[in-house]
């Protein structure tokens, strides 16, 4: 059996309605679950980027990314192992302010985990932490005993370690394409 690993897929595309649907169909058709998905505008005009985290085998991720690359509105797609990217997730926690006031434990947790307090009201306190999933998860476990009211974690955002820019990749693709064809 081939090893299951965590992969981060980056997709650069046109910003078209329905493209997200087309992308996810490629995963669901192969019964591969998406662990997290983040989409945002890229710094090149009109380019949209998706960051998708999945656990699967390398042969499957290769098939999936080559199917994604085939989508008409997708410019370029890549997959990375975790050591090839720099990534973060953001987590928000809501605790009752009374719990914060009862002792200094929450304050210590905030300091120890490099989290920060976003807002304090008489009713609740909002805490933010960015980091890897393990870090935000650990803080979550620590905050649970303090009557945690709400928790949310974002999808992964990632930038890549390889230096080759998307622009260059696209230029290469274009140069490798024969537009002088019969159509």
């Amino acid at each position: 059996m081939e090893k299951v690993e965590e992969f981060t897929v980056k997709v650069y595309s046109e910003n078209h309605i329905g493209l997200l649907n087309r992308l996810t169909i490629i995963f669901t058709r192969r019964k591969v679950n998406i662990e997290s998905l983040t989409t945002s505008e890229y710094h090149l005009p009109g380019v949209h980027s998706f960051t998708i985290v999945i656990n699967t085998t390398e042969s499957m991720i290769r098939k999936i990314t080559s199917q994604i690359q085939k989508l008409v509105d997708v410019m370029k797609t890549f997959y990375y192992r975790t050591d090839e990217i720099i990534y973060q997730e953001i987590a928000l926690y809501k605790v009752p302010t009374s719990a914060l006031l009862e002792s200094n434990e929450i304050e210590q947790l905030v300091r120890r985990y490099n989290a920060r307090i976003l807002e304090v009201t008489p009713e609740y306190t909002a805490i933010e932490k960015t980091g890897h999933k393990e870090d935000t998860q650990e803080l979550l476990e620590k905050l649970k005993p303090f009557k945690l009211l709400e928790f949310v974690r974002s999808g992964r955002v990632a930038i890549t370690k390889p230096m080759k820019e998307l622009r260059v990749h696209l230029q290469e693709l274009e140069e490798a394409t024969d537009y002088s064809n019969k159509y």
């Binding site: 329905g18 649907n21 098939k63 490798a176 394409t177 024969d178 064809n181």
Partner: protein, 579 residues
């Protein structure tokens, strides 16, 4: 018929900048894309477009089908025969959902098709309006691209894009959904053909280093075998293929969808590979030292058990779709490009060669197959007519020159095995999806595409009844299609599997059928004949071929005939069973 049949008056396109409606813009855009025929079915949400079409019906031929699925299959067939996109037009809701099978079929068989559906006005989207369905969502998995138009002025650009995407690279179906307000809306007419899309790279340039590697392997091969797939037809590489194999003396096998890309009477032609293919190409796949695959995707019906497929051979894969490389079979040299472009670059590097003994060895396998399987089926002496006899006779009587269309199942395999195609672009069948009901509407599409050629549609009693209503289309449009119904009163292929792998438990495969010739002749006024005796076969075939109009020949064939040889599912291609 009380209809406004006054002659169409408008013929020419308006000047650029003229104000037109979205519907008119759609019709003009189709004219700009050189669309000669639309297969369609009108309904509420597409009525403005049909109204615009009425004025241009001498410029664009409209074939009124009897079910939208029929429109899709007819358009696919039209596309395959002519090598340009088939065009479909339907209404919203059920009109669009009825297309799904056809879209899926076109998607898996890489058929260029542009389908238009009407949609409820944009203000009503998402309100569960009458005949509203989520066409974008529902067609996404079965289209190469789709788009919903909600404003009239989007129409020309999107139509141009649709035709470009459908027909370039690896072709496929494109679905365009147009809201009714976009059809009614006004826009300034302007058209520009699409030549490039920023995110779409349809024709990879041929990589010369790969071509050189391929040429090297071809030049030194002692036992090469070439599999020609549909990509040869799509890229029009028939001539280049012929040059390559005659120069290097390479036996050619054609996949089901590649049939007619290479003449069956050529000395290097060795038949079809795969589950019900010929023995020689299957057995030799596991003996060759070089396998050259052109425009095919190593489908499981071709390869049988993958870890026992051509493991001894070097493999060169010519394929325009990069995602097909290594998907099923690992390759030694992959040339990701249009087949014709690649072969044109390859040819100057290929040396004259001679593999007499190797080519001859295919003949031995063929003789063996002929003795064990082919002759007994074609020259049956039993009471019942076998399917092979009928197909073989029609192949002989038409000298392999007809366009042949099939439905799906046993008869499909029998036709693929027995019809000897001598002309290119002459075979239309549903390959990847295996769509029963494909045959009759596909015969319609083929005849519309090539009225000058004989079109013979083979079908079985199961598939025929899935789209039998298209007899109405044939009758109304007076399409001289020859239909050959091989009736064994069974869902034959399923019954064969029940026979071989389910202990002969014939679970729901026997059909109680109507009198088909009555339906055709009395119902639709289509000439027909029913025969069940061998001595009537020849004269009936001759009568059908000589008949001027459409004709249904129903042949009662042996009830429990199995198609052989066969690579049982999951077995190696070299282990074909003959009984």
């Amino acid at each position: 018929m009380k209809t406004n049949d006054k002659k169409p008056t408008r013929k020419e396109l308006p000047a650029e900048g003229t104000e037109v409606t979205g519907s008119e813009a759609l019709i003009f855009s189709l004219m700009k894309e050189d669309v000669g025929t639309i297969f369609g079915y009108p309904g509420g949400a597409i009525m403005p477009v049909y109204d615009a079409l009425f004025d241009y019906r001498d410029r664009i031929n409209h074939i009124l089908v009897r079910h939208e699925q029929g429109a899709a299959h007819a358009a696919e067939s039209y596309a395959k025969i002519l090598g340009k996109p088939g065009v479909v037009m339907v209404t919203s809701g059920p009109g669009a959902t009825n297309l799904i099978t056809g879209l899926a079929n076109a998607m898996i068989d890489s058929v260029p098709m542009v389908a238009f559906s009407g949609q409820v006005p944009s203000g009503l989207l998402g309100t569960d309006a009458f005949q509203e369905t989520d066409v974008m969502g529902i067609t996404m998995p079965v289209t190469k691209w789709n788009y919903q138009i909600t404003k009239a002025d989007e129409i020309p650009e999107i139509v141009a894009k649709a035709f470009y995407i459908a027909s370039t690279g690896r072709p496929g179906p494109v679905m365009i959904d147009i809201t009714k307000d976009a059809q009614f809306g006004k826009m300034k007419w302007h058209y520009e053909k699409c030549r490039k899309i920023r995110s779409y790279f349809p024709y990879p340039k041929v990589q010369m280093d790969k071509v050189e590697e391929a040429a090297h392997l071809i030049n030194k091969a002692k036992k090469p075998l070439l599999i020609a797939g549909q990509g040869v037809l799509i890229s029009n590489a028939q001539k280049e293929l012929m040059q390559l194999v005659t120069r290097a003396d390479i036996p050619v096998t054609t996949t089901l969808l590649g049939l007619s890309s290479f003449p069956a009477d050529h000395p290097l032609y060795v038949g079809m590979p795969g589950m019900h293919g010929n023995m020689a190409p299957n057995i030799k796949t596991n003996e060759c030292d070089l396998l050259i695959a052109i425009g095919m995707r190593f489908d499981d019906r071709i390869t049988g058990r993958l870890d026992d497929y051509a493991t001894q051979a070097k493999i060169i894969h010519f394929e325009i779709d990069h995602s097909e490389i290594g998907k099923n079979v690992p390759t030694d040299v992959a040339i990701v490009a249009d087949a014709r472009d690649a072969l044109t670059k390859l040819l100057p590097l290929v040396k004259e060669n001679d593999h007499k003994e190797w080519v001859e060895s295919f003949r031995k396998e063929y003789d063996n197959e002929y003795r064990k399987v082919i002759r007994p089926a074609r020259e049956s002496r039993g009471d019942d007519i076998k399917m092979d006899e009928v197909v073989h006779m029609i192949s002989e009587k038409t000298d392999g020159q007809a366009i042949v269309v099939t439905d799906v199942g046993q008869h499909q395999m029998v036709v693929a095995r027995n019809y000897r195609f001598k002309q290119s672009r002459s075979f239309v069948t549903s390959g990847g999806l295996g769509t029963m009901g494909f045959g009759l509407p596909a015969a319609v599409g083929a005849k519309v595409a090539r009225p000058d050629r004989m079109v013979i549609g083979f079908t079985g009693d199961g598939g025929f009844q899935m789209t039998i209503q298209e007899l109405g289309t044939i009758a109304q449009h007076k399409l001289p299609v020859k239909m050959v119904l091989l009736n064994n009163s069974f869902l034959g292929m399923v019954r064969q599997w029940q026979d071989m792998f389910f202990d002969k438990r014939y679970s729901f495969t026997e059909l109680a059928n109507p009198e088909f010739t009555k339906i055709a002749s009395e119902g639709y006024g289509i000439a027909s004949k029913f025969i069940k005796k061998r001595e009537d076969l020849e004269s009936a075939v001759e009568e059908m071929l000589a008949h001027k109009g459409p004709y249904l020949l129903e042949v009662k064939v042996m009830k429990e005939q199995n198609v052989f040889p066969m690579v049982p599912a999951g077995a190696s291609v070299s282990n074909m069973v003959t009984e």
